[in-house]
């Protein structure tokens, strides 16, 4: 813990839901556990709660530190904390680990009560709506009837959007950041490469790797490397690595010679040690399936009809994974549906990952949106 502006030490909480949850795929989850963190205090009126939704590889650990020795703070620590964009002096922030995750909430690593074995590959394929429904149960448990806001970046932004469609009366503001109304063919293609990397690893064993105490680490590593490239921009990679070499000269071999190679390998290694492969497969599917317009013949305007929340759509200039034009699709459909929407494009060289960094204008805009009284 080396960051004074952080909220400090945080202890995760957990809740068990005994009732069955009917999933969109038609299957039922016979009870589940959800791990979450909270920051700040819920006011008496219970009107200051903000739900933070994580992206593909995120967790409930969004801000602060779990122990003094922890080097890295939560994934959105730069935006959540005292006086930060999501000000914990004002708001009660709730950050759950999504269903199907691998950080404590029920997922493929958990024990299936029917077999007493880990779910593994048998864990049902989920959708964003399943997450929304499970998060609504968490809201009930915390006695929060209406969220002041639901916010998130990337896949988290899609959840914020889905919240405003599924539970219009329970959400006042939606912060839809670096998101898209659905994945493009190119987006799905990248996800498929990641899935192929995992499933073709011999250690994957059709998803049953836990039974042999192994993990398809090299597949997961490769999946993360591919994904990571799409989170950065050409510009930011050029600035960070250029064509810099690790050693002074070319070695005329196939080891990691360029800085960018060793960076990607390091990212992949670190990720493959901590993340569950079945969860990764599941999360990419959730992304691929997200398409609120699907049941309305592709008409997003119709899909947005129930929305009552005030929405802020934020995009980043150098994001090519979910580019500003994808955000504009959301905004334009909200305008055509006569919904309350603001749209800002933040100038940032950091690609899709921009949503994780406290760029001055990004902070200013998010703060103003969350703080206004309408």
């Amino acid at each position: 813990m080396n960051n004074k502006s952080s909220i400090g030490l945080i202890k995760p909480s957990s809740v068990k839901f005994d009732n069955s949850l009917l999933l969109e795929c038609g299957k039922e989850l016979k009870g589940f556990e959800m791990v979450y963190e909270t920051y700040g205090k819920l006011n008496e009126e219970k009107s200051n709660a903000i739900l933070v939704c994580h992206a593909l590889s995120g967790s409930h650990h969004a801000a602060g530190y779990h122990k003094d020795s922890e080097v890295k703070a939560g994934w959105w620590d730069s935006l959540i904390g005292p006086d930060k964009a999501v000000d914990t002096n004002k708001y009660f922030v709730v950050s759950p680990n999504n269903l199907g995750g691998c950080h404590g909430t029920t997922g493929p690593k958990s024990t299936n009560p029917e077999t007493n074995l880990a779910y593994g590959p048998d864990f049902p394929v989920l959708t964003v709506r399943d997450w929304t429904n499970s998060q609504a149960l968490l809201a009930d448990y915390l006695d929060i009837n209406t969220w002041h806001a639901v916010i998130g970046g990337s896949l988290g932004g899609m959840q914020a959007l889905d919240w405003s469609i599924a539970y219009p009366k329970r959400i006042k503001k939606a912060g839809v950041i670096a998101a898209a109304p659905k994945l493009s063919a190119q987006n799905i293609a990248f996800n498929e490469v990641a899935r192929q990397a995992i499933t073709s690893d011999p250690d994957f064993q059709e998803g049953n790797y836990m039974q042999t105490n192994t993990s398809p680490k090299s597949g997961l590593r490769l999946a993360r490397m591919v994904g990571h490239i799409t989170y950065l921009s050409d510009e930011s990679m050029k600035a960070k690595f250029g064509r810099e070499l690790k050693e002074e000269k070319l070695s005329f071999g196939f080891d990691a010679e360029f800085q960018v190679e060793s960076y990607l390998r390091h990212q992949g290694d670190a990720f493959s040690k901590t993340f569950d492969a079945n969860t990764y497969l599941l999360m990419t599917k959730v992304l691929d399936y997200f398409d609120p317009a699907d049941e309305f013949d592709g008409d997003l305007v119709k899909a947005f009809k129930p929305i009552l929340a005030q929405t802020l759509v934020l995009s980043f200039s150098s994001d090519w994974r979910f580019s500003p034009s994808r955000s504009k699709e959301i905004t334009n459909a909200l305008i055509d549906a006569k919904k309350k929407v603001s749209h800002i494009e933040i100038d940032s060289p950091l690609g899709h990952d921009s949503f994780l960094f406290p760029e001055e204008r990004y902070v200013e805009v998010l703060k103003a949106f969350l703080g206004n009284q309408s």
């Binding site: 749209h343 800002i344 206004n372 309408s374």
Partner: protein, 195 residues
């Protein structure tokens, strides 16, 4: 009567409004309180956008010069364009777009035909600096100034109907005395247009 009062009098209760170049959102905010409008502001200035968000207004960061094709035909009861037409790269195209999107359009423009402007140009040979046009030529954002006559000729060319117009004096107050000599005496003008 002030400019804001004229605008409010032309906007129906509970109607929809698109405010192009909404500035800090003060007009939109007043229309929301007094006329319960549902509206969006379009703005590119960072400080103005922040002010709009703080007021809880809907604001879209969009450069009008890059087009308005994301707005459907006749999708707003009113398109409001206050002191903005003259800063656009292509006012003619913008005017066509504005009247396409709104059932009615309310346009406020400074009058370059005002006697003070004419006098400065005629006597001093200098670009005028007046109450409604306060910047010097090299720092003004007003790249497409026109006189009332110029603007009305353009409306005629585009088959745009001038439903109503109010002439404002240099203090921004509506004056009825100027109706005959409006192009000479009016400092700014507010039009209500339809097409």
């Amino acid at each position: 009567m002030k400019t804001e009062t004229v605008i409010e009098s032309w906007v129906r209760d509970g109607s929809s409004i698109l405010d192009l170049g909404c500035g800090d959102g003060s007009i939109l905010e007043a229309l929301r309180s007094n006329k319960s409008v549902q509206g969006y502001g379009i703005e590119i200035d960072r400080k103005n956008i922040k002010s709009c968000l703080e007021k809880g207004l809907e604001v879209i960061e969009q450069n009008i010069d890059e087009g308005l094709s994301n707005f459907l035909d006749k999708s707003f009861d009113t398109v409001l364009v206050s002191q903005t037409i003259q800063v656009l790269k292509n006012p003619k195209q913008a005017l066509e777009e504005i009247t396409r999107i709104g059932h009615q359009s309310i346009i406020v423009i400074p009058n370059f035909g005002h006697w003070k402007s004419r006098l400065t140009l005629f006597l001093e040979g200098k670009m005028p600096v007046t109450e409604s046009l306060p910047e010097k030529w090299y720092e003004t954002p007003n790249i497409h100034l026109c006189t009332l006559t110029d603007f009305e000729n353009l409306c005629a060319e585009l088959n745009i109907v001038i439903e109503e117009k109010k002439i404002l004096d240099s203090k921004g107050t509506v004056s009825t005395l100027f109706s005959t000599w409006s192009n000479l005496l009016g400092s700014s003008v507010i039009y209500r247009l339809s097409r």
